[in-house]
């Protein structure tokens, strides 16, 4: 394989969002260092400004249909990548808004916090464009790098340190698995680019290699049996980082999973479908059953997140165009509901200083708005109409039933009922139990903004999903001709300007 390293201006355009964000990252860092008296809020809004500009740039790409590949197909910018990048940027913006109040708890390095958040976002944006095994490894590690620091940002807090250590050790272990898997796959096929890999004979080495890669990505999305870091890390990490961790890396990892399974491995779908089905059933069942026993809301959402990933994997197990649409759509609904729920958690944690579910008692009397918002977010996660989560779940089930995955759907449906139990336990605390302390809870502006965005997203997508469905469907057009092995190579992407 030859790399053509000639970059034209039009090629650079494809990289524009990432290049711009990199530049902006430096600006944030320089501003933080140069102006000693700068208030951290200003840095936060500065970061958000950069992210919004990047978002606008991506929106322009999406509208004008700018797509293409770079660096010998290492980097691909297609509508799928744009969809995922937009989700990551949205999540990052919301997380920065969430962080503004929380950052006061850090006694030092407040400015670098935003730098690290945006840097992770940048890494994840690259991840969504990764189109070969090398860029997969590099971008994945780049994205995780920032998180290692962020998770243990509360330096004097034992739980945060423990979380960071756990995350780091298991993360490095996963990276090792990934590198080994990549080497096996490269050894067997002699290829790195996903699209060129399809059609390879499934030798033992190749299968083991892909299993190892799946294990590493399973670690990222937190699917059972690679979930063990999730509860403690979510619990110990600073809450905005937990919120970030609960959505953005999963979204980015799913972009890679889609490219890997739907493009590189499209020929032996029957083999990996079983693997995904098993991971999905285990994740849903384990996550939901263990979540019942949780007394801490962050841990509850950690386990519910494991279960949600199990739900998303149903769409991957379907392995069709519609399955991928449903994954994209589901992740979008999950983004709003999950970040909204974390915003409520932070508002309460700021007032009460605790994340225990018992402290949510009588929240309806203390702050009807927060209680209502939490109700909506939790019910959306549970999949109750007319909220976004319901449409997402239904879409996934419809995609799966078309492929005849009856057992998987049955397990998924039963799990909806199980999950409803623990979400309703929180609702019971908020609405039915009497408050232990009836002082009203104040919400600050940025948190309120995140909650409003979450509510708007959850309700609008739930009541009128058509534009969002269309967007998801348009983003996965590249998978629409994945019917058989013959048609498994995606159509040649015309480079922009060529």
């Amino acid at each position: 394989m030859t790399f053509s390293l000639t970059l034209s201006v039009s090629d650079l355009l494809l990289l524009l969002p990432e290049l711009f964000l990199t530049a902006w990252l430096c600006v944030v860092l320089i501003v933080d260092f140069s102006f000693k008296r700068i208030v951290q809020e200003q840095l936060a809004y500065l970061s958000i400004l950069g992210l919004v500009i990047t978002l606008a740039c991506l929106a322009w790409f999406d509208v004008t249909g700018i797509t293409g590949t770079l660096f010998g197909k290492m980097f691909v910018l297609d509508r799928l990548a744009i969809f995922f990048k937009v989700m990551i940027l949205l999540a990052t913006i919301l997380v920065i808004l969430l962080s503004i109040d929380y950052v006061h708890r850090f006694s030092f390095f407040r400015g670098e916090y935003y730098f690290l958040v945006v840097m992770s976002a940048l890494g994840m944006m690259f991840m969504t464009s990764a189109n070969d095994l090398l860029s997969l490894f590099v971008t994945l590690e780049f994205a995780t790098f920032g998180f290692y620091v962020l998770v243990s940002y509360l330096r004097d807090d034992m739980a945060s340190n423990e979380a960071g250590l756990k995350f780091f050790i298991l993360g490095v272990f996963a990276a090792g698995l990934l590198a080994y898997g990549i080497s096996l796959v490269y050894g067997e096929t002699g290829r790195l680019v996903f699209s060129e890999m399809s059609g390879a004979a499934p030798t033992t080495g190749l299968v083991i290699g892909f299993l190892l890669i799946f294990a590493a990505l399973g670690f990222k999305i937190g699917a059972v049996p690679f979930h063990s870091w999730i509860p403690d890390t979510y619990h110990g990490a600073p809450t905005p980082v937990t919120a970030f961790l609960s959505i953005a890396p999963k979204v980015a990892a799913f972009a890679i999973l889609l490219r890997l399974f739907m493009v590189a491995l499209s020929t032996f779908k029957p083999v990996w479908a079983l693997l995904i089905v098993a991971a999905s059933i285990l994740s849903m069942t384990y996550g939901n059953i263990v979540a019942i026993a949780q007394r801490n809301i962050k841990r509850l959402l950690a386990y519910s997140g494991i279960a949600q990933v199990g739900n998303v994997l149903i769409g991957l197990a379907a392995g069709t165009k519609m399955g991928t649409d449903s994954i994209l759509f589901y992740l979008l609904t999950y983004l709003f509901a999950n970040l909204g729920a974390f915003a409520v958690i932070m508002a309460i944690s700021n007032a009460v200083g605790s994340d225990e579910i018992d402290d949510y008692s009588g929240l309806n009397r203390r702050s009807p708005f927060l209680a209502f918002a939490m109700l909506i977010f939790l019910l959306s996660l549970a999949g109750v109409p007319p909220l976004a989560g319901f449409i997402g779940k239904l879409y996934i089930f419809v995609a799966a039933i078309k492929e005849g995955l009856y057992i998987l759907i049955t397990v998924g449906l039963i799990n909806i009922v199980v999950s409803m139990y623990y979400y309703l336990i929180v609702v019971k605390k908020m609405y039915i139990s009497e408050p232990l302390d009836s002082s009203p809870i104040k919400t600050t502006g940025p948190l309120r903004a995140v909650i409003y965005v979450g509510l708007a997203g959850t309700l609008v997508i739930g009541i009128y999903p058509q534009p969002f469905l269309d967007w998801a469907v348009a983003a996965t057009l590249m998978f629409s001709n994945l019917v058989g092995p013959a048609a498994s190579i995606p159509p040649p992407v015309t480079p922009f300007g060529g």
């Binding site: 109750v384 109409p385 039963i414 309703l424 058509q466």
Partner: protein, 552 residues
């Protein structure tokens, strides 16, 4: 304007709920005004719907179709036939009455009205959905408001309140959700209701997804599916069982009934009214709409299951109601017993009996609505639902006790109330096919008399405990209005059933003809006569008349 009737009925309560979000809880009269106003709009529109429905033309009318999702083949497809129309009317009446029954709620009134409006709107939505997706959508949407209504404004049982050890209470609160120790807290009732209904709803959803897949039509539209989808063999049986038991749990059919009386008992009055009055009918209605319409052959084969189970429903519910000591348990179990009659009427698959079943749903909504409203009133005044400790309240509450007598009469099925007509039709219509069940049903009526009279005597007659001497009667117009509405509806349709009957028949006839593949031998005289809406047409009570219209 007229073609938007369904949208008005459906969205007026939603709009009311939305408007209430922006009103402060302190503006009591504004809150009440918005709630009552939106319910009133819905009521007026549904009365218009009921009388504007063209029974001669039949079929689905007032159809609205709004594209919702191309990829999934979903559209907001609304329309009512002769079966949905009376149920929409019943829901709107009970919602309007329920707003007034809960007029004096002190705690978080605004939120109460929001949830009750959403609950009622969701049930109305089910009754007019012609799309499987939206049927499920509204069905599931009605469950969560129930949780909050029961949990926030409900009441514990006496047994639970009598538990004094705090440690025990705590334990029962936490573990009790799964292992209830015989003392039902309202939280337990609410959780049980939601989990039970959701568990069976997902079974129904599985059935719906199977219909979607194996019809191969890529649509959830009931009208398209019933024309073009054909299911047979084990698959049809599986789908039918999933749909039937999924929806029968809310009906509630024995042995899936246990959530229902517990839920009734815990719920505040207006919620019990809607719950027993219309929510339970979602089950029957959804079975008719989905299983009867899309799987007619399988329905013919498997409906005897309902005929078997309804016997247990009738007898078991009646006996428990007789021995229950709690007013709401009595009415709750009586409701699940009475729902057995509807299943009997449905199981016979006969023109008369299914029409009777649909009219019974309407009639039962009024009768049980009254009883729950009055049980709620008595509870508000005395703070107990324990029948043995009550008594002699007729001195303090002459109006309520008189209305209660009427409610009991309606519930028993006295001639002059619409319940009578419905009961007679069910009994007469299913006699040919299920004589044993009919005997049980008649015995069930005797049982109904027994427990209702027992409760009436226990509440209103005999000697009164001193501590209840300060209880009040319903004197103001606001307090009496809901009862008067329901009594008026029940009696006026009892005396003038003509339009109700012809509307229901227009919905039932094509359905039964499809299922039994037999067109009515002689079209019933009422259907085509110029006096179709004439109130004085006698009921088809004679054997000859039935023999003519009942296909063998």
């Amino acid at each position: 304007m007229a073609e938007y009737t369904l949208l008005i009925i459906l969205f007026a309560p939603f709009a009311g709920a939305l408007a209430l979000i922006f009103v402060s809880n302190r503006q009591v009269s504004l809150v009440r005004g918005i709630a009552a106003g939106s319910a009133f709009v819905s009521l007026i529109a549904s009365v218009y719907l009921f009388y504007a429905y063209d029974a001669v033309k039949g079929g689905f009318q007032f159809i609205q179709r709004i594209e919702w999702s191309r990829q999934l083949g979903i559209s907001l497809h609304l329309g009512v036939d002769g079966i949905g129309t009376p149920l929409v009317l019943a829901s709107a009446i009970l919602l309007f009455a329920g707003i007034f029954v809960s007029w004096h709620i002190k705690d978080r009134m605004k939120e109460f009205y929001i949830w009750i409006l959403i609950l009622a709107a969701a049930t109305i939505g089910v009754f007019m959905s012609l799309d499987l997706f939206f049927l499920y959508f509204f069905y599931e949407m009605s469950v969560i408001p129930m949780y909050l209504l029961l949990g926030m404004w409900g009441s514990h049982t006496k047994k639970y309140l009598e538990m004094t050890d705090t440690e025990g209470l705590r334990q029962r609160d936490s573990v009790g959700f799964i292992f209830n120790f015989g003392a039902n807290s309202k939280e337990y009732a609410a959780m049980k209701l939601v989990l039970f209904l959701s568990a069976f709803a997902v079974a129904a959803l599985m059935g719906i997804l199977l219909i979607y897949k194996f019809s191969g039509l890529n649509t959830f539209d009931i009208l398209i599916l019933r024309e073009q989808a054909h299911f047979s063999g084990p698959l049809a049986t599986l789908i039918w069982l999933l749909i039937f038991f999924g929806f029968a749990s809310i009906a509630p059919i024995w042995p899936l009934h246990s959530w229902s009386p517990v839920g009734h008992a815990a719920a505040p009055a207006a919620t019990s009214m809607l719950h027993a009055g219309v929510l339970m009918k979602l089950g029957h209605f959804s079975i008719i709409r989905v299983a009867f319409e899309i799987l007619p052959e399988t329905t013919r084969e498997l409906m005897p299951i309902a005929a078997v189970l309804c016997v247990f429903s009738i007898i078991y519910g009646g006996l428990v109601a007789y021995y229950a000591k709690d007013t709401k348990y009595v009415i709750g179990y009586s409701s699940s017993s009475h729902m057995g009659y509807v299943f009997l009427g449905m199981a016979a698959l006969d023109y008369i009996s299914l029409s009777g079943a649909v009219i019974y749903m309407f009639a039962h909504a009024m009768a049980t609505g009254m009883l729950f409203a009055m049980a709620g009133w008595v509870y508000d005044q005395t703070h107990t639902r324990d029948i043995p400790s009550l008594g002699g309240l007729s001195n303090r509450m002459p109006f309520i006790s008189a209305a209660f007598v009427i409610g009991c009469m309606a519930s028993i099925g006295m001639p002059g109330t619409v319940n009578f007509i419905a009961e007679v039709m069910i009994i007469v219509g299913s006699w040919n096919k299920y004589p044993f069940q009919v005997v049980v049903a008649v015995l069930g009526i005797v049982l109904t008399m027994a427990y209702l009279f027992k409760m009436m005597r226990g509440l209103f007659y005999g000697s009164m405990a001193e501590k209840y001497s300060h209880s009040h009667d319903a004197v103001t117009v606001i307090d009496r209005l809901p009862l008067l509405i329901m009594i008026t509806v029940s009696i006026s349709f009892g005396i003038f059933p003509g339009h109700l009957y012809s509307v229901v028949r227009s919905g039932v006839d094509p359905l039964i003809a499809r299922i039994t593949k037999v067109v009515p031998v002689a079209e019933h005289p009422m259907m085509n006569s110029p006096h179709a809406a004439s109130p004085l047409v006698p009921l088809p009570a004679s054997r000859e008349a039935i023999a003519k219209v009942t296909p063998r």
